[in-house]
Amino acid sequence: MTLTIHQLTPVFAGKVSGVDLTQPLSRDAVTAIEAGMDRYAVLVFHDQKLTDAQQQVFSRNFGELEHTGGGNITKMTDRRLDPYMADVSNLDKDHRPLARDARTRMFNLGNRLWHSDSSFRAVPAKYSLLSGRIVVDQGGQTQFADMRAAYDALDKATKAEIEDLVCEHSLIYSRGTLGFTDLTDEERAMMRPVRQRLVRTHPVTGRKSLFLSSHIGTIVGWPMPEARAFIRDLAEHATRREFTYAHTWRQWDLVMWDNRQLMHRVTRFDDTQVRDMRRTTVAGDGLTVAQAA
């Protein structure tokens, strides 16, 4: 069984075959997957019947796991899964679909906006790995947009203008966009904005990309409305169809992506049906820019 990668769009995304992720991997297999990530930015593995423990073991091949604390309004005591598994489902602690007006559901609707995972953390995420445990048969796709291709396609004047811009990211902003502002003081403190460069350079390939996310609320030194209008224009450019790949889920798909090079979002589905997805996140290894004192 040899690991092979088949490219899915003219721009990016690869489908991997010839590897069983439930088993310990050889160093060569890990190296091949990492090289694939650097090149394709998102990799799809079908038919991987992972347990939470196996998913964590596989994910640790690529670095330390990010703890889920600080990324959601769900209290640790109300969580369905262990603290290193992000719960990307529509279920409550008792595995029942959330009510239409449940606060957690309102919060999680923010995933329908284009974003990069944990861009609201001072050290943003490296990889995300999402396992499809129970999938819906209509909607609920995950769409990806290639921020390297989007950067490359900008005109020279725009590239020069944005080169040194720094954005402020917070969950307050992405949720505010959807009119979800019902946050406690404690939650607001947890979601304090962090700063990220708008243009990042990939540590391995040296390629530049746009570090965009709906968590962005402003650009340092700009009036907020001007910053938001500009970021919207950039996000619209960056999510043009030719830069995107839409993943239609099958049960036991594992999709992993590089948050340093992509944005992603989920599309609408009938969430009275169960959709149970579980994410592990590989932590990034540094700041993109010095934080405000």
Binding site: L178, P223, P225, D233
Partner: protein
Amino acid sequence: MTMAIQPLHAGFVGKVSGIDITRPLSRDEVASIEAGVDCYAVLVFHDQPLTDEQQCIFSQNFGELEVTLIGQLSKPEDRRLGDRLELGDISNLDARNQVRARDDEKRMYALANRLWHSDASFRAHGAGYTLLHARIVPSKGGNTEFADMRAAYDALDAATKAEIEDLVCEHSILFSREQIGFAVRDDGNADKLRPVRHRLVSIHPATGRKSLYLASHIGGIVGWPVPEARAFIRDLMEHATQPQFLYAHAWRTDDLVMWDNRTTMHRARRFDDLREVRDMRRTSIKGTGVAAVPVPVAAE
């Protein structure tokens, strides 16, 4: 000279030639223009050196003029175009004809014109036609883009059409400004900021065609949790503004573009507004637009 309309897309946007709109028009000419805008939703007239007075006279052929909200919200000494509240000042100039500073509050307010919208959808009667005339255009950028809400409606799948048929949205100028982080101050104008309700699917009174009545002024759908409504409206906006539904108008001085707010959305694109002047004057036709849905008292 005979008036002719040349379509720029199939059934969307017509370029009008053979007419001088600075002079009084015959009843036939007015009827032809109305038929044209019903059919094409956007009409472009080149080389029309209109004065403010002439623009108002031409616009009045199509109904009574609407006063602008920003005019109503501004102090008299801050109005560049004087007492004529029905003439919208779509420029980056202050009352002394100087380019507005980067953090000028009127500039912040106007930046929301870069979001897709339908004029005055935040009023009980949204605008019918809008007429925008270019006096000074920047050397780069500042296009106005239009989206055909009839074609966008037609392209929805049957399930979505059924789902949205009876939905009612809440529109307010507050919501569009909030999207870009600008809080409009109340200042005793609460009545003008209060959300109004419009059906999401509207039917054009002349053609009978259905269209999506969308605008960034929408903040909610009646009966829906707000975040769910906003996420859904964003999806619909994205659908409705796909390249195949769009026309980008690159302005020349003395262009007049006239559009039907009941069948289109539009937005302005970025330009170097701290260094270049863009001076456009807008008139809108009152009360012939989409009518608000009465708010049942019991539901409040």
